[in-house]
């Protein structure tokens, strides 16, 4: 990891880093966002993705099950 510091403004000091996003970080992110989507719809059925009596749109189902 390369770390460098740059001078900030009077209101906000700035710190600059440079690195590459890791695969395990992306995996943790995908899990976190899936959990948020799942919690958003407590009526979800894992079999069919139902919102109340209405079938969830395909896009929301994708949000719950993972990225396309």
């Amino acid at each position: 990891m390369q770390i460098s510091f740059t001078a900030g403004s009077r209101s906000a000091p700035s710190v600059a880093f440079s690195e590459e996003l890791k695969i395990e970080t992306v995996q943790a992110w995908n899990q976190f966002t899936r959990d948020v989507c799942r919690r958003m719809q407590p009526h979800l059925s894992t079999a069919g993705y139902f919102y109340g009596s209405t079938k969830l749109p395909r896009e929301h189902a994708r949000c719950v099950t993972g990225k396309s």
Binding site: T6, S11, A28, V36
Partner: protein
């Protein structure tokens, strides 16, 4: 909120959440728009060309890539003046919209591409490959909800993935992150409020913007 107050708060204890190699920031904000309808809010949120006006100075360019039936793709160029004055982020987003009933609507949007631009606006400006850079924001997902109730409540929940901050620097960086997050939410909600109330008063405002596409 019915008096015009904006509520902004981090979600859950221990926010941001530490994950391997990163931090997940999870915030929510809401306000109430008197006289607004769900259709007014949908018109504003989906008017992507106007985002560069509504959410200035953070959003400095915006465009609709594709507007489908319930699913859109858009692009945004954002400049963060608070932390790194010469760093911009260019990205594509996918937004899905869901009408639950006559009084409730929500959308989920997420980044599908995000790239850092170093030295933005300078002669030595350069765009970095995806997933390389400061990691100020690696990924972003937001959920906008609207509910009609003698006006309309607008709520935005945003989740952002950033690089990890070394513990020796967190005392300095954490307050900045919190301030930036709170300010970004307030600016988003104020921008949405102004555009929605303008839309409610005169839908031609949106029509004029739509004609730009």
């Amino acid at each position: 909120m019915r008096d015009g107050q904006i509520v902004v708060s981090p979600i859950g204890p221990g926010n941001p959440t530490r994950v391997p190699g990163g931090l997940i920031h999870h915030w929510i904000g809401a306000n109430f728009l008197p006289g607004a309808t769900i259709d007014d809010i949908i018109a504003v949120v989906r008017d992507y060309v106007r985002h560069q006006v509504m959410y200035r100075p953070t959003v400095i360019a915006s465009n609709a890539i594709d507007r489908g039936n319930g699913e859109d793709r858009l692009s945004l160029l954002c400049l963060n003046r608070a932390l790194w004055s010469r760093v911009a982020l260019t990205g594509d987003y996918q937004a899905s919209h869901f009408r639950v009933d006559a009084k409730r609507w929500y959308s989920i949007s997420e980044t599908t591409r995000l790239q850092q631009i170093d030295n933005y606006g300078q002669p030595d400006e350069r765009i970095l490959p995806q997933d390389v850079g400061t990691g100020y924001i690696w990924r972003l997902q937001s959920i906008v909800r609207a509910q009609r109730d003698g006006g309309a409540y607008v709520e935005i929940e945003a989740i952002a993935l950033s690089r990890d901050i070394p513990s020796t620097l967190r005392w300095m960086v954490d307050p900045i992150i919190r301030r930036v997050s709170r300010n970004a939410f307030t600016a988003f909600l104020r921008g949405t409020e102004a555009a929605t109330l303008s839309e409610a008063e005169d839908p031609k405002n949106a029509a004029a913007s739509l004609s730009l596409r």
